[in-house]
Amino acid sequence: MSGSLVENLINELSRLPGIGRKTAQRLSFFIIGMPGEEAISMANAIIKIKEKARFCKNCFNITEDEVCSICRDPGRDRSKICVVEEPSNLIVIENARIFRGLYHVLLGSLSPIDGITPERLKINELTKRVKEDNVSEVIIATNPNTKGETTAQYISQLLKPLGVKITRIAYGLPIGGDIEFADEVTISKALEGRNEM
């Protein structure tokens, strides 16, 4: 009985990304050794997030309410929208504490070969927001890879006729890295996007 319970927990944990069977086994025994209330609190957190988490009706960030805390915040600059691929990208930008505008989460990126067309992302909803909410700037912060770039180009073509300023986050070298390890595309993009000092 206890063997099957442990086995079941290992199986469930090994479904998580980046968790192999061995790690799942280690985590399972850690959970078994945890005080009862801590383990139950952890289990409840998973249950609650599955019951209550949903997408914000404006920006598609994850929230418990109809509208997320960022969209509700009156101190935010409503004329700027930062477009990201996933809610996890939004958290990273938010943690930088430099952007005080609103967000729009696309919930993916365009990919011709995988058949991810604009209809499958929240692009129409973005166009609607730009048209209706008096937006002056859209900052496209999709990933700096081919899918992210294709998405950025499509959005840019779509929104340009609306007369809104469209900007793309800068490309270049990561801080703390050495130029000697950078590849030719990263270096070219970094040089193209150089700033006057």
Binding site: G115, P118, G163, P174
Partner: protein, 256 residues
């Protein structure tokens, strides 16, 4: 075992937290899949070398039969000009999807590798004014190179002149041959001489002078539709990139 080869990235697939499975068209092993550890991290040593269409010198660790690990990828030609152009990239994706769908994995074909590289160089260096025709020429020539091109020059059975293309047969058929039991009642597409003329020259002319072909937009639309139907029949499904192209070039709502 550590081995080295040249490859063109056809596509990548996310795996785990920050890993990728990369599909390459290689010069000496055909289409292969390889595993890359953590290329999605910002400080990854792979940089942009695993982006689609990149031509790179790669080092692989592991057996050929299993999923080898990419230990190094040095860019020979990034082809970023193609990726940076929305239309070029979607059309190149169509070529990639054709390759992945029609060519079995692990069969070496040095000529195909050189040919695909040549096509990418040609797309990269061509001017925008001839791009639409060029993308179609690239598709036709790729289908010809891998042996799946439709036959439009005369009836596929008897050689008589014909303008009716039968996707089920992959060829044009004359009235007499079309009435035979295998083709009878099957759907066909009526094409015109301009389509045949452009198609034939696309195959026969050297690719570096094919920009002299100046088809009208109707010819391009007609031939593009024919190729899509031909591919749909071959693969028993529509190409995803064709559907993507249709979805992104549809007329958009006018601004308010």
């Amino acid at each position: 075992m550590l081995t080295g080869t040249e490859g063109i990235v056809l596509k990548t697939q996310k795996y785990g937290d920050a890993d990728l499975i990369v599909t390459y068209l290689t010069s000496d092993r055909g289409i292969i899949n390889a595993f890359a550890k953590s290329p999605r991290k910002t400080r990854s040593r792979f940089g942009s070398s695993l982006e689609p269409l990149t031509h790179a010198r790669i080092s692989l660790w592991g057996k050929e039969q299993s999923l080898p690990r990419i230990t190094q990828a040095d860019i020979i030609n990034s082809f970023r000009q193609i990726r940076d152009n929305f239309q070029d990239f979607i059309n190149a994706s169509k070529l990639v999807e054709m390759l992945i769908s029609l060519i079995p994995e692990g069969i070496p074909n040095k000529r195909l590798f050189a040919f695909f590289l040549n096509i990418l160089n040609f797309i990269k260096s061509s001017g925008q004014e001839t791009k639409e025709a060029l993308h179609l020429i690239a598709q036709i020539r790729l289908l010809t190179a891998i042996g799946y091109a439709p036959r439009l020059k005369g009836c596929g059975k008897c050689g008589t002149r014909s303008l009716d293309f039968y996707p089920d047969s992959g060829t044009t058929l004359c009235g007499k041959c079309a009435s035979l039991p295998l083709a009878k009642g099957k759907p066909f597409i009526r094409i015109n001489n301009k389509v045949i003329h452009f198609y034939t020259h696309s195959i026969e002319w050297p690719i570096n002078i094919s920009n002299r072909l100046k088809p009208n937009p109707e010819t391009l639309t007609e031939l593009s539709g024919l190729l899509d139907k031909h591919l749909t029949y071959l693969l028993s499904k529509k190409l995803r990139s064709s559907e993507f192209l249709a979805a992104t070039t549809r007329p958009r709502p006018r601004p308010f």
